[in-house]
Amino acid sequence: MNSLSEASLARLESIAGSAAMLTDAALLAAYDVDGARPGAAVRPGDAAAAAEIVRCAAAENLALIACGGRTKLSIGAAPSRYDIALDLSRMNRILAYDPGDLTLGVEPGVTLTELRRALAEHGQFLPLESPYAASATVGGTIAANAISPLRQAFGGPRDFVLGMEFVTGEGEPAKGGGRVVKNVTGYDLHKLMIGSLGTLGVITRINFRTFPLPAGERAVLAAFPSAENAFSFCAAITHSPLEPRRLETFDAAAMRLLGLAPTGPGSGEGAWCVLVDAAGTSAVVARHQRDLERLARAAGAAQFTALESSDRGKWLTRALEFPRYVAERSPETLLVRIAAPPTAMPALAAESLRIARSNPVESALFLPATGLAYLALQPRESGSAALGSLATAVTQFFEAISGNAVNARDVAAMVEGCPAELKRRISLWGPAKDDFELMQRVKKVFDPRNVLSPGRFCGGI
């Protein structure tokens, strides 16, 4: 438990108001990050108050971690210091929404659920999804650059965030980008915030472009006897004129973990499933289904089914929550997030499974979209031996990436979830690449006093 000086507490309280500050140890437990507990949680009501809190922290040499729904605080390395939780959940207003322009500006604490509701009123949506969907906020989803299967069609936040306002580590408000759909004025500082785990700035406003809801949607599921068949189906889709919204690939263990099991032919051990979701008018959706069935059969599908709407919902929801299913399975699981060229994926998958087999760990592989994968590892035993097995397996995994199997520079991987004790033993981002020194320079510009989430980013940033 961290203790803040009386003076610091008084100053924070004068900024936020006593109603917006927590110091009770029992309540602060909810803000723990990897076992570290802050001395206070402060809940500012607007960007100006948030900036003042950061200024106060900077002046008193305190470390601060920004949070919203607190669903992603376990991502990243353990903080080296942690004095204040800056809880942005009260900053939950939609600041500007111009449905006619398909643009939107929101505070970071808006939940994804609330945002979906507000946009749906105008027949629009944001292709931003996140595990822990019920409580995840926009700010946290952006700061963690959470993977959503919608990346298949819409890319990541860097492709539809138009601009951001944020507070630097010195408590200075600043911004990058703008509010219109096209803009090249100034440096794209907002892009640096995406996936920075709160180490560069406290996000106070995010501007997005929004998208029209499709006229209809339909998902099909194809089951294959092997990884090779499944990957060849995915490649065939990529090279076809089809434009699926989602293209999700599961190995048998991933489906077991999610409680999703296709029945019938080709659904046994070693089976792989590919879910493809198409959106558009009925003619477009029907065309997808027709072509997908042909491609699936050609790739050796054991079965091909169009999912009923309730089944579709179940598959999509659970797949999105893959990281949560992994974490809830056991506290000793480890989750690796991988981005690689699609042609490297089959080899990476095979290598991962080989590593799992040669260690006492079980593995599950889920690819949320082309070129993206989640690898979950769970030790067969428990206790300290379990951590040892995980550490060995993940080290071998990073070695395999830097080895000859695939081009190391083209693969990005990080451990997104693992037991807190393990975080001190392994490098969550694998070996440093030659751009790390540039990242240090960037950190120094935005947060020279190391106030924001110190230690949580790669290489101890």
Binding site: G100, G156, V181, L372, V442
Partner: protein, 477 residues
């Protein structure tokens, strides 16, 4: 410039790779903007190691450095504002790798935009950013200016199509950022570098995303009797969530000028046309084209034509992409703005631009990316008339202020460069700019890499301080 530096450059690169005679340098003193600045030396590297050595020599002699592709930029990004060395990439123009399976290509910065598409066309692929200058402009220039084009409406600008870069940092170190994967898991340095206008590092290799050519394309020309009807059509198309691949507008005066030159088939008696394109699966294209037609007709379009074949389609696009050339035929000079507004504000903004033209007594043509609210008002003027350019700058300043008041942006695709740097305070606070300057300082601490770009130099905040353009040599003064 120190003759010793030129000798050392010649020694390192070969004499055929260094220009330093005044008559040679004249060719490198301009770009596509109205600005002029002459370098003291131009060098032509063949490889990344050449660039690294050039950068080290420039440091040793404390000489400014500016990268240059084809010099088609519209904001002076490639001009040597403080003299020094221009690093011209015309010899680093190889496509190093086409990875069709992963839809990536690795190219040197001097590769011409259209040449990449031509090289991968047989694989059913293309490079999506398509600035009007795509036959000449280089991908290196596209990356540093974050270039756009008509089809960025649906596919995004250059930054959405770059996944990795090789850089030579201002201290001479070579670093790779990003790669072939869809994302990086550290800070998105590639996202920062794209659009940094050559002020952070020199880019020597680019990994780009290739797009798959659509199965079906339909090009439509909606013809209007009134500008308001055309802009209202764009508002309605956007509001309904229809995203054409492109949605371009030409007003009556501009389309007549273009028509006289290109004979693209724009009706000379109309007040405005919208050039629209829909792409994708055949089924979707049919439906979208029908929906767009219905919207345009409901907004009083006189007719909506559909290009019958590739020839008609190419001709319509030729009209659009050669428009600036057509205008150059009839006016001694013109000045083009690049402001952006929310799409909902299009009708009132076009009316405002017309008022500003009347107020200052200028003909202002409009040919622009209507679908994403990216305006290109063209102010025609004659540099031989004393004081005229000052009034152009004043009129243009009023237009850009209107864009900012509407919640828009200073530049949608041309960049800030040395053209709009004094306008930056309209969009950014001193704090915003100070942070951006510190970012520049982290990469480019001496400021010798592409000096005096992006950031305001003067004290008069918000003033355009561009110099009047030189008189074209072909015109009598």
């Amino acid at each position: 410039m120190n003759p010793k530096l030129i000798r050392e450059l010649e020694h390192r690169l070969g004499r055929d790779s260094v220009l330093s005679l005044r008559e040679d340098l004249l060719l490198y003193e301009y770009d596509g903007s109205v600005e002029v600045a002459r370098p003291e030396c131009v060098v032509f590297p063949r490889a990344t190691t050449d660039v690294a050595d050039i950068v080290r020599l420039a440091n040793q002699y404390e000489t400014p450095l500016v990268g240059r592709g084809a010099g088609t930029g519209l904001s002076g990004g490639a001009l040597a504002r403080d003299g020094g060395i221009v690093v011209a990439f015309s010899r680093m123009n190889r496509i190093l790798e086409v990875d069709a399976e992963n839809r990536r290509a690795i190219v040197q910065p001097g590769v011409v935009n259209l040449d990449l598409t031509l090289a991968v066309e047989h694989l059913g692929l293309y490079f999506a950013p398509d600035p009007s200058s795509q036959k000449a402009c280089t991908i290196g220039g596209n990356v540093l200016e974050n270039a756009g084009g008509p089809h960025t409406l649906a596919y995004g600008v250059t930054t959405n199509h770059v996944t990795g870069l090789e850089l030579v940092l201002p201290e001479g170190r070579v670093v790779r950022i990003g790669g072939r994967a869809a994302e990086t898991l550290g800070y998105d340095l590639t996202g920062l570098l794209v659009g940094s206008e050559g002020t952070l590092a020199i880019v020597t290799e680019i990994t780009v995303r290739l797009s798959r050519k659509p199965e079906a394309v339909k090009t439509l020309l909606a013809v209007y009797e009134a500008v308001d009807d055309a802009t209202e059509s764009v508002v309605e198309i956007t509001r309904r969530g229809i995203t054409p691949a492109a949605c371009e507008m030409l007003d009556g005066w501009t389309l007549r000028t273009v028509e006289d030159f290109v004979h693209a088939g724009f009706p000379r008696d109309s007040a405005a046309v919208l050039l629209l394109e829909v792409e994708g699966l055949a089924e979707g294209v049919e439906e979208q084209a029908a929906e767009i037609s219905a919207v345009c007709l409901a907004k009083r379009a006189r007719e909506v034509r559909v290009a019958r074949d590739d020839r008609e389609r190419d001709l319509l696009w030729k009209g659009r992409k050669n428009a600036f050339g057509a205008i150059g035929r009839i006016s001694p000079s013109y000045y083009v703005q690049d402001g952006v507004i929310p799409r909902t504000k299009l009708p009132q903004t076009l009316r405002r631009i017309a008022e500003i033209g009347e107020k200052y007594g200028f003909r202002i043509g409009n040919i622009f990316h209507a679908g994403d609210g990216n305006l290109h008002p063209l102010i025609l003027f004659d540099p031989r008339h004393p004081g005229e350019f000052d009034r152009v700058v004043a009129a243009s300043g009023e237009i850009i202020r209107h864009c900012i008041e509407m919640g828009g942006a200073l530049t949608g695709e041309h960049g800030v460069g040395m053209e709009k740097n004094e306008l930056m305070p309209l969009m950014f606070t001193p704090g915003d700019l100070a942070l951006m300057k510190r970012v520049r300082g982290a990469f480019n601490p001496t400021g010798r890499l592409n000096p005096k770009k992006i950031f305001p130099l003067g004290k008069g905040c918000g003033e355009v301080r561009i110099q009047p353009p030189p008189l074209p040599s072909s015109l009598p003064a």
